[in-house]
Subunit: 363 residues, 3 copies
């Protein structure tokens, strides 16, 4: 595909500064963009990469264009309201994906007679759909997926290869579950009796609300009673662990490696960076942000950023970290101070002797 | 289902304090229990939730009943020896699960002719059983499970969908392996030669002893020689990593995210909280407890609780943590002390000068 | 199998010190070796285990033989250039593995008509090969593996059960992908707009170069644009996360639990110990070593060892750790020093009063 900068600008409703006739073949990040690539810049850091990079054209917001023209006058700009949005639009244009398959229900899938599959679904070969499962319209169930008895999926869900839903899982609309994710395995609950761990039956289930996305190899355990719940719009990255009876709010975003023990609850818009751990029964308030590798063992108020293990507010942690880095130096200072005090003490002792001497001398 | 408090008490051998005629429909945790739910209380923290919660009835131990009657007189209690046990019993009664399937050996499973399957097993469609595998009586092998050549399973094991056993794995009785767990992949062993990592053949296997439970997406690598061993009754949560040649004792319990490098050995009753990491060749003694996110790089004596990375005994870590939190303040104190000492030094110097003056003056 | 020490020595080109007639049945690690086992020793730590262990024979390097004969005179040694190499050779001899299967392309595999499979491949039952996939000669594709449309694999690759390749993944030669690994799931990329996370299409792919090995349940996300790249010879352990657009150099080795956010780049020969986390867009230089549980949020120069979270150079971290351990003591020292200074101040104040008195007295 070749498309001129002028034509691109027309498509995304942008205004060109530079050469409208330059031909664009594909879209690239600014650092890697070549003469026939379009890219985008949303901050000065992006722009600074132009000292070495030579993209064919750059999407930019109106507020940066003066700075851009002044500092990089020989480039081709397209001013748009939403540079990243325009870039994604071109990306999709220049890299057309396979159309969604329309294989329907494969005869090589294993589907229980009591299961109900909505219209316009693709059930791939090797998928397994258990007794009394209900699947809404327009879902894609990929090869190797296991949806166990009594699960219910809404419309337009995608379940990628080899993901597993244990029995009774309730899934909303437009939910995406990536490969090898496991939803609804038993919670880690035992009674320690006579020197053995005896399993507590895990009789609850899991609910994934609308627009949830679950990453590859992420595991969400079923509740002991009630439901482990993932709120609307919440996104979990790969290799995340959500323990039994957790209840996540809406529009949370958890990066890879995050682990929640049992019965954790979160408000809306909670963000966890990578490898965060949260102890059981803790509540994380609305819009709290937990920095990478934080370890949380008590309730955290919303609207704040926390760091460290045990996690504290960001600025406290920065103070601690700064102090920590100065710790070896601080020990040295303390040792010096000790010698000074010893010296002072000695001198004062000497002097205490001296003074009477003076007195005696003058006496 | 509806059942009266009196009838419930008879079933679990309890004694009612309150209204025997109240009808119970289901079981719930104390915080969520409504007028037709039964719940249980095993400590004062549970009881305190009764200030807002209104459960239909509460299982309680004899030792708490006086306190309970005095503080919450208008509730319905069933005194039992084991409140949680009674609660679980009712939970199972009010939430009957599907009976275990009796599909037998599905013709849609792939089973090597040389494999031997015991009586009363369910081998689901899409399961794969390799050459010379032996499976004991009463096992459930779910869809998508792969049991490779030469594996041996005992009786009454459950292997959940898409779990994988590499060749030669030895599994005891009543073992549960959750979805997408991987048992017996190659250990991470290489020789670094001429600038390349050359694979060391991993010729050992894995042994899971009786009553072991393995969580979803947990991986247990095969030994280079000998066997990676998980002792009787040991429970591993989801997303746990056990490296090659590890030997875990009996009745260990490891929470999600725990990672053991190669050749780690543990005694019996070792507990690891979430996201613990243990370096290779380390030994953890009987009944040691490793707190969440601990990092262990040397042997740990049994019977103690450890925290931190590098892990130390709990009370040492608490002292360090407390000191750490006061570190910014400590720096401030040190700075103040420095000025005081500087001031003292100055004053002492002045005085040292002053004293001879006095002497001179009087001379 | 039984083989004499003399015969073993001839096979591996070694020289016997001790009894050539002793019969060896198998190979074992030094701590576990019995009278009919051969083992190997590559350092004095190994040799010290001989105070209790009684192996039938020991492979040893020439440089240790004098020390060995002097300290453990009654043992049987085989001096070889490469003790571990000789040991592995015997290990393979005494534990013959099943020969590679020659099942060819199973009729129970699901293979798209447009897929091209090279000669001498085994495609096991239950494997799924999508449209336009190309697989080179001599590959093993195990049961339950899903290779999605437009993937290309080189020669002699092994993909273990239930591993998943999303569309368009490019795999070199001799690549090993372990069970339940997921290559090419969507990167964790969203735009936060009007209170919702909207998915950014992830239109790039993943490239695994020659001789890469990917551990069980490891996930490598596809790029948003371009390719997430794993360089030649790089080995990833189990449960590792590689975010979208990461580019790993050659011969990296990452232990289990390592997590890389998006767009991380590494040089060659980078080593990450277990549970390391690296923030997005960070670069790690050639031959850098990141210690277990390190947390990295900025570029790290090559050739150095780093520890801690936030990671610093090893010796800085050791100084901090040492200081940290002395922190409670340091607080005590500071308190003592404070009282000393208070006392000094008091005494100096007393004296200051005293001195004029002396002066007055003498006046």
């Amino acid at each position: 595909m070749e498309i001129s900068v002028g034509e691109l600008a027309r498509r995304v409703g942008g205004i060109v500064h530079g050469d409208e006739t330059v031909l664009i073949e594909s879209a690239q990040s600014i650092a890697k963009a070549g003469l026939r690539d379009i890219t985008f810049a949303v901050n000065e850091l992006n722009l600074r990469l132009l000292s070495t990079a030579r993209p064919g054209a750059i999407f930019i917001a109106a507020k940066f264009i003066d700075h851009a023209l002044q500092n990089y006058p020989d480039r081709n700009w397209i001013v748009v309201k939403d540079p990243l949005g325009a870039f994604i639009e071109v990306l999709q244009l220049t890299r057309p994906q396979r159309e969604r398959s329309t294989i329907g229900i494969s005869p090589q899938a294993v589907i229980a007679p009591s299961a109900v599959i909505g219209p316009n679904c693709n059930i791939y070969p090797g998928a397994y759909i258990g007794e009394d499962v209900i699947i809404g319209a327009g879902c894609d169930i990929h090869p190797g997926v296991v949806i166990s008895a009594d699960c219910r999926l809404g419309e337009q869900c995608t379940v990628y290869p080899n993901a597993v839903l244990y029995p009774q899982i309730v899934v909303g609309n437009r939910v995406i579950i990536h490969a090898s994710a496991v939803v609804g395995a038993d919670g880690f609950g035992y009674r320690f009796q006579q020197g053995r761990y005896n399993k507590i039956p895990q009789l609850g289930n899991v609910e994934l609300h609308d627009d949830v996305e679950i990453g590859a190899c992420t595991t969400i355990d079923r509740a002991m009673i009630g439901a482990t719940t993932i709120g609307e719009g919440t996104k979990l990255d790969n290799l995340v662990m959500i323990g039994h009876n957790c209840e996540l709010g809406k529009h949370n975003a958890f990066a890879s490696g995050v682990g929640l023990a049992g019965s954790v609850t979160t408000g809306d818009y909670v963000v966890c960076a990578g490898q965060v751990g949260i102890a059981d029964h803790v509540h994380i308030g609305d819009k709290a942000v937990l920095g990478a590798k934080s370890g949380v063992h008590k309730d955290m108020e919303g609207g704040k950023t926390y760091l460290g293990a045990p996690a504290t507010e960001e600025h406290d942690q920065f103070r601690i970290l700064m102090a920590l880095n100065k710790l070896p130096e601080l020990r040295k200072q303390l040792r010096e101070l000790e010698s000074q005090v010893t010296e002072l003490t000695r001198r004062l002792a000497d002097q205490t002797v001296t003074v009477p001497d003076v007195a005696n001398q003058v006496a």
